[in-house]
């Protein structure tokens, strides 16, 4: 087994005396698809926010690719190779679908401010490279037909796809997906699963997936972490998780379809 891509030790965060997340240990190996599940308010998104630099953890350590990324600014985390989607879709609404992806591609482009202002050759070269790469991502997600639409005018399911395409365009090694199938119908969810499996192979990605849809998680994840009340209560393969009494207890009262 190679060294873990992401390693999280004793991670915790306190908001005004309230321990939102504590004592979380996790690892993700290169190429692995890992699920993060738990009841509402268990601290899943908070964990994402710590991994991506939106929140600075109050305790513990996050190591990515051999380097500590604790408290790094979000854009630096992204440039370092972790990108994400948002649970409550956060597209750039007044930008075109293509431009949404181009924004994420920004960090991979080289042409500088002066070359753009004075329209030097490197600007044109850089911009056409961005255009090419961004279109390629749109094609993978079947969004190329919408490229000139404003993001806000896309149908809901397409907006969710665009979120993933955009995250991918930032060139991550680890992709964090926050409930990518929320609000989708079963057919759309199925298509999305296929797509996630495809991009993982195509781009040699590790993926950490938050999801409420148990089918999706159990179906495609190799390993699963379960959070409850801000703490990890279980870790293991889908089969192990399904049989774990602690997990069943945590979900008691919630609608479970295991």
């Amino acid at each position: 087994m190679s060294e873990a891509l992401l390693k999280v030790d004793n991670l915790g965060i306190t908001f005004g005396g309230l321990k939102a997340v504590q004592k979380v240990d996790m690892y993700i190996n290169p190429g692995e698809l890992v699920g993060l599940i738990g009841p509402n308010g268990a601290g899943k998104t908070t964990t994402f926010n710590m991994l991506t630099g939106v929140y600075t953890p109050t305790e513990g350590n996050i190591t990515f690719n051999g380097k500590s990324i604790n408290g790094l600014d979000p854009y630096k985390v992204t440039r370092g190779g972790i990108s994400r989607t948002f649970q409550n879709i956060r597209l750039f609404k007044e930008l075109s679908v293509l431009d949404n992806v181009k924004v994420a591609n920004h960090g991979l482009a080289k042409h500088n401010l002066l070359s753009s202002i004075f329209r030097l050759p490197s600007h044109f070269k850089g911009e056409s490279k961005m255009e090419e790469e961004s279109l390629a991502f749109l094609k993978i997600f079947g969004l190329d037909v919408y490229k000139n639409e404003l993001a806000k005018n896309l149908p809901y399911g397409m907006q969710r796809r665009l979120e993933i395409a955009r995250a991918l365009a930032a060139g991550p090694k680890l992709l964090l997906l926050d409930e990518p199938a929320a609000g989708m119908n079963p057919q759309e969810t199925y298509d999305l699963m296929e797509l996630i499996a495809f991009i993982r192979k195509e781009f040699n990605l590790s993926i950490l997936l938050i999801e409420h849809d148990m089918h999706l998680v159990m179906g495609i994840c190799e390993r699963i972490y379960v959070l409850d009340h801000g703490q990890l209560i279980a870790e293991g393969s889908p089969a192990e998780i399904r049989a774990n009494p602690k997990v069943i207890e945590a979900y008691l009262g919630e609608e479970v379809t295991v």
Partner: protein, 312 residues
């Protein structure tokens, strides 16, 4: 390439406008009165476009733009009047110092959001004004005498360069980064955009061209006083950008042209002008908050026509 053809088309159009008006000025068809109106129009366009990059593109609510205009005006005036430099050097130095002032103001304040940023920029603009008020070297409250050096050529090419550079900036990865901040700062950050850097860059570019406008303004009116650059001036500039449509460069330009004409005709009735201005401002915000063009450009409106397909 199609894009560069459109670009050169605009440049030729600009040169034709320049030449025609210059000829009309030379043969006396455009009188001094109208020449002055055209120069004021150019200054207002520069101010509007320079605020547009901060407010319309990057979404940072600055309401102290007159402060940077003041820096450009005073620094250029010091260059030409006290240090006897040529006008063009004065414009450049004024703009550079204004951009530095923009950096100085922007770096601490751009961490603030919305209302707080607005009020902080207003505060900084007032501080800049009070500083000039207290410097005897530039005449204090009495102001500074300046020889008339601005002419149609300076004003017009000031506008052309301002628009060219700001639209070049906007239509590049750097401009898109700024727009993404306007749209959703947290998402922009998560997509790898250094939001602080781009906010400061937009602020500095905007301040630079406000400085150019200030320099050209200073050398058009024989005297500058600190009171000229109070927050009423900042609001005047704000009105241009808001009416044109936040995010629309051509909208800002059209609003600047239109309001300069209105202002010129209402010169004898400043109160009436302000009442009309403020009523228009309130009505636009209540019934069409996106302004004249929203985030669209005039060129977008022609896209459905013959030319189709151009992305400029």
């Amino acid at each position: 390439m199609k894009k560069s053809k459109v670009f050169w088309g605009y440049i030729v159009l600009a040169l034709v406008i320049y030449a025609v008006i210059q000829v009309l000025i030379n043969n006396g068809t455009v009188t001094f009165y109208y020449q002055n109106m055209l120069i004021t129009m150019c200054i207002n366009i520069m101010l509007a476009v320079s605020l547009h990059i901060i407010l319309g593109i990057t979404g940072q609510f600055s309401i102290g733009h007159a402060g940077f205009m003041a820096v450009g005006a005073y620094v250029s005036a010091i260059c030409t009047m006290q240090l006897e430099m040529p006008f063009i050097t004065g414009i450049l130095l004024g703009a550079i110092v204004a951009a530095l002032a923009g950096l100085l103001v922007g770096i601490p304040t751009l961490r603030l959001k919305g209302d707080y940023l607005a009020i902080a920029t207003l505060g900084f603009a007032e501080i800049i004004r009070i500083i000039f008020l207290n410097i005897e070297y530039v005449g204090g409250a009495a102001g500074m005498q300046i020889t008339h050096q601005t002419n149609w050529t300076y004003a017009f090419f000031g506008v052309v360069i301002t628009i060219l550079i700001i639209s070049n900036f906007t239509n590049s990865r750097h401009g898109r980064a700024c727009i993404s901040i306007r749209e959703d700062e947290i998402a922009a950050d998560a997509m790898g955009i250094n939001t602080t850097y781009y906010k400061v860059v937009a602020f500095a570019i905007g301040s630079f061209f406000a400085g150019v406008a200030g320099a050209i303004y200073a050398h058009n009116f024989y005297i500058i006083q600190p009171t000229t650059f109070g927050f009423l001036k900042s609001f005047d500039i704000l009105i241009l950008v808001v009416l044109g449509g936040l995010g629309s460069l051509s909208g800002s330009v059209i609003a600047a042209v239109f309001l300069t004409i209105v202002t010129t005709y209402l010169q004898g009735f400043p109160e009436t002008r302000m009442i009309i201005y403020s009523l228009v401002l309130i009505l636009v915000m209540l019934y069409r908050p996106s302004g004249l063009l929203g985030t669209k450009e005039v060129t977008d409106l022609f896209k459905f026509g013959k030319r189709g397909g151009s992305n400029a």
